[in-house]
């Protein structure tokens, strides 16, 4: 479960810290007290930045770091597709062995495949992704109403 990739992201998180954003959300994982505050900054249909601050276990914090790597600079539609694949992997209960195609999409995030075998920890891995989804929806609705 604790792949080196995960531990590296945990110890040296990418893109951590709160920066300017179009929407901010705060999500918690009540079973263990993991918390994340996450902001999304959009530029047209591109994700300009995902910034975050949080506390929690190595899985939840590393996952936020991987998310930042993967999604910043992507088109929203592509990011949503990546999120969908990650969600599918995390809900697989260990039954999906990531292949090259999946690795192409998820990059470092395939390291979380092992976490999907631990039901108690899946929520940790998904915390930042659910926060991102929520924040993006809010940012888009703000944009529409302007």
């Amino acid at each position: 479960m604790y792949q080196d990739v995960i531990l590296d992201h945990y110890k040296h998180p990418h893109g951590r810290g709160l920066r300017d954003g179009d929407a901010e959300v705060h999500h918690v994982n009540p079973t263990c007290g993991d918390e994340i505050t996450l902001r999304v900054k959009l530029k047209g249909s591109t994700i300009e930045d995902v910034s975050y601050e949080g506390q929690g276990c190595s899985i939840s914090q590393a996952s936020a770091s991987v998310l930042n790597d993967l999604l910043v600079g992507k088109e929203i539609a592509d990011a949503q597709r990546i999120q969908g694949v990650f969600l599918e992997l995390m809900q697989s209960k260990g039954r999906i062995e990531p292949d090259d195609a999946m690795e192409e999409v998820l990059e470092d995030a395939v390291a979380f495949a092992g976490v999907s075998k631990y039901p108690a920890r899946v929520k940790c891995a998904l915390l930042s992704w659910m926060a991102w989804k929520d924040a993006t929806a809010q940012a888009l609705s703000v944009e529409e109403s302007v």
Partner: protein
Amino acid sequence: MNSRPAVLTGLLDTEGIRKDFPILDRLVHDGKKLVYLDNAATSQTPRQVIDALSEYYENYNANVHRGVHVLAEEATAGYEGARDKVAAFINAPSRDEVIFTKNASESLNLVANMLGWADEPYRVDRDTEIVITEMEHHSNIVPWQLLAQRTGAKLKWFGLTDDGRLDLSNIEEVITEKTKVVSFVLVSNILGTVNPVEAIVRRAQQVGALVVVDASQAAPHMPVDVQALQADFVAFTGHKMCGPTGIGVLWGRQELLEDLPPFLGGGEMIETVSMHSSTYAPAPHKFEAGTPPIAQAIGLGVAVDYLTSIGMDKILAHEHAMTEYAIGRLLEVPDLRVIGPTTAEERGAAISFTLGDIHPHDVGQVLDEQGIAVRVGHHCARPVCLRYGIPATTRASFYLYSTPAEVDALVDGLEHVRNFFG
């Protein structure tokens, strides 16, 4: 490295006791010996209790208090016999003061609801106050928050000292003439603290407030005498004291149970029913609507027999020795901070700690890989984590079958955790 004293005094014959708990022989994660240190969450079940559950279902499964056939009579005798055993176990003046519930949460909710619906002098309303403490389990916080919201009563609480004790320095301002009920935990599930019942009860009695004691972490581990406590209600649960899940207890003083209104309505709790109104059965049945957890009550009765045969004073002594040894060994681990009292005095065998800045979930996961089962998180006592500025803790909790070797395994396991995340 191993600083175990040559002889720890007061230990039980754990080798013999462990033979009664088949699960303790289980191997996990490819052959690792299970080290079960999550007893504050739930205790393991001795064969005697497991057998009693099977025997009930194999031989005399029936609904209680109704049928006239032999199975119903035996089931009723078993169920009511369990009530006698529990009453004796807590030195209740009357068996009719023992109400079976689903768990301690239901017991506490039952009291909170009764007090919202009661007539004077018990009624909690907008002009009155409810007092709890900052170290309560959520089950002794949320029912009172709900009661306060529904009635307009004010909810107050005792804070905590830096060393994990109740801060009673302002007791006269917290418990006042307006206080209708004081509800507090006897032994904290997260800090391990044993609270000074007498001081709180004395003040509550001065102002005429009812006293509710959450004994969930006390009844399994020490002699509990409801008369000595001088409380009005005492709540605890079966599955933390070698019994099955799904069975809890509320003890209440007889005159209160007579005066207070019922909680749930239904079968079993009535005297007569017409389409316009009903009258209620006397306590305890007034508070036991519907078919009760029969097998579970019988199982709890057998658990009580089991604990009594070993002796609650001996269990207390064993856990005291274990706690003293465990705290000493844990404090040897670099970067480990015990959250709660750091001595075994006035302290139970649940020990919470943090390990540097390694998140408790990670600590628990790496311990689990070594076969060591602990609890991680906020232990349903999130205000305590907020009070001490931590997101969560790792908690090791011991019971009558726990051994010093298991403490050593935990300490070795924590070394491994530190190396892994170091």
